[in-house]
């Protein structure tokens, strides 16, 4: 088990995609200290920016613990395929970008593009996540293709944009454009959601259990549902309005919105 302690409060962006179980695997602590990282435009070694300490571990799995604020450190766990990263503090942008397996746990907040384009594995965030959770890089039309992201706090805009598979669960609030252009998969928002949920979605499922500011005019009411399955044995209790859309792109995505939390939507009932 490797433990990383930031040696200072970082001011410049730190790029450190080497902080990944796949990279640490089979490396001696000295080699890990010598891994390349960037601080602004200066090339450094990991050992300059972090105190690296090894500790006993019960599992064979590679585990990296980061103790402290790494909110300026970008790309932690990018491309990882196995092992575990636990961050006791806030983490920076692109956490777990394109990860394929393993697990990242953050006991704090994370920056934007967490789990961007991920294919597998799990990210669990106990604080808030920024914009573009699980969403792809600019111009890319393939978002999350598998795996699971759980956020206990709030998320920013465009969570799950271009999602093709997988699950995002948000136990707090979500920003605008959640599930933009999603094609499949599931997004669950336990609390409130800003407008434009499911914009341009083609297929897939979005569940909003809290207040939803407004439904896009291009969604049509389909019915009422008592409860909706999120994944495996987890269900969200309704009743829910079921909308289909986005008709602007001839989509047939399903948008479930809590009936009780959204009295302003009861005008749709006359269309049922």
């Amino acid at each position: 088990m490797m433990n990383l302690y930031p040696t200072k409060k970082f001011r410049f962006p730190i790029t450190a995609e080497c902080i990944s179980p796949d990279v640490f695997q089979d490396k001696k602590i000295e080699e890990i200290r010598r891994l390349t990282v960037w601080e602004g435009n200066k090339q450094r070694i990991l050992g300059e920016l972090f105190k690296v300490k090894e500790s006993e571990s019960e599992t064979k799995m590679v585990v990296i613990n980061i103790h402290g604020d790494v909110s300026r450190v970008r790309r932690i766990g990018a491309y990882m395929t196995s092992g575990q990263i636990v961050i006791y503090g806030n983490a920076g942008m692109h956490l777990g970008e394109e990860m394929e397996g393993g697990e990242i746990i953050v006991r704090g907040n994370v920056g934007c593009w967490a789990g961007s384009m991920m294919k597998g594995g799990k990210i669990e965030i106990y604080g808030n996540a920024g914009n573009y959770l699980g969403a792809p890089y600019r111009g890319v039309n393939k978002g999350m293709r598998g795996g699971e992201i759980v956020v206990h706090g709030n998320v920013g805009n465009e969570a799950g944009a271009y999602m093709r598979r997988g699950v995002i669960k948000v136990y707090g609030n979500a920003g605008q454009f959640a599930g933009l252009r999603m094609q499949n998969g599931t997004i669950y928002v336990q609390k409130d959601c800003e407008a434009r949920v499911g914009a341009c979605m083609k297929d897939g499922k979005i569940i909003v259990s809290g207040f939803l500011e407004s439904v896009l005019p291009t969604f049509t009411i389909e019915g009422l549902k008592e409860k909706v399955k999120i994944e495996n044995d987890e269900t969200a209790e309704g009743p829910f309005y079921l909308f289909l859309g986005d008709t602007a792109e001839d989509g047939k995505g399903k948008l479930y919105v809590s009936k009780t939390k959204n009295p302003h939507l009861n005008r749709y009932e006359k269309l049922l």
């Binding site: 934007c112 914009n131 573009y132 920013g156 605008q176």
Partner: protein, 131 residues
């Protein structure tokens, strides 16, 4: 009074900025707030009365002018410039662009408060000039 703040270009702002930002004409073209006539009535102010425009990001004093641009009750229009920049929402939503248009704001009459000159405004807002 709660309003939605829209900032933008005006002929005068576009014209006078070419003459230099420290000119009086530039200040007069930019440190203004165009309001719907009914909103001004509701606030009990006249054309040319100073108002304080505030958001959660800051506040500024501007001269209220009656808008000639049709009815737009609930919307105030302020030309781009340093006077309003302390008030607009800097949030970029991670796309690089702050929210210059459509910010929730509060307008209140401030007839006794002066509109600052650019030099005064900069001195007030920037620590660097006071060192």
């Amino acid at each position: 009074m709660k309003v939605i703040l829209v900032t933008g270009r005006t002929v005068k702002q576009g014209f006078w900025k070419e003459y230099g930002k420290f000119s009086k004409a530039y200040m007069e073209s930019v440190s203004v707030c165009y309001m719907d006539a009914r909103d001004m009535e509701r606030l009990g102010i006249k054309d040319g009365t100073n108002v304080q425009v505030s958001t959660k990001h800051g506040s500024t004093i501007l001269k209220a002018l009656k808008s000639t641009r049709g009815k737009h009750s609930g919307i105030i229009f302020v030309p781009y410039g340093p006077w309003i920049n302390g008030v607009v929402d800097p949030e970029t939503d991670s796309v690089g662009m702050p929210s210059f248009k459509g910010t929730q704001a509060e307008v209140e009459p401030a007839p006794e408060k002066p509109v600052l000159s650019l030099e005064e405004l900069l001195k007030k807002q920037f620590r660097k000039l006071n060192r």
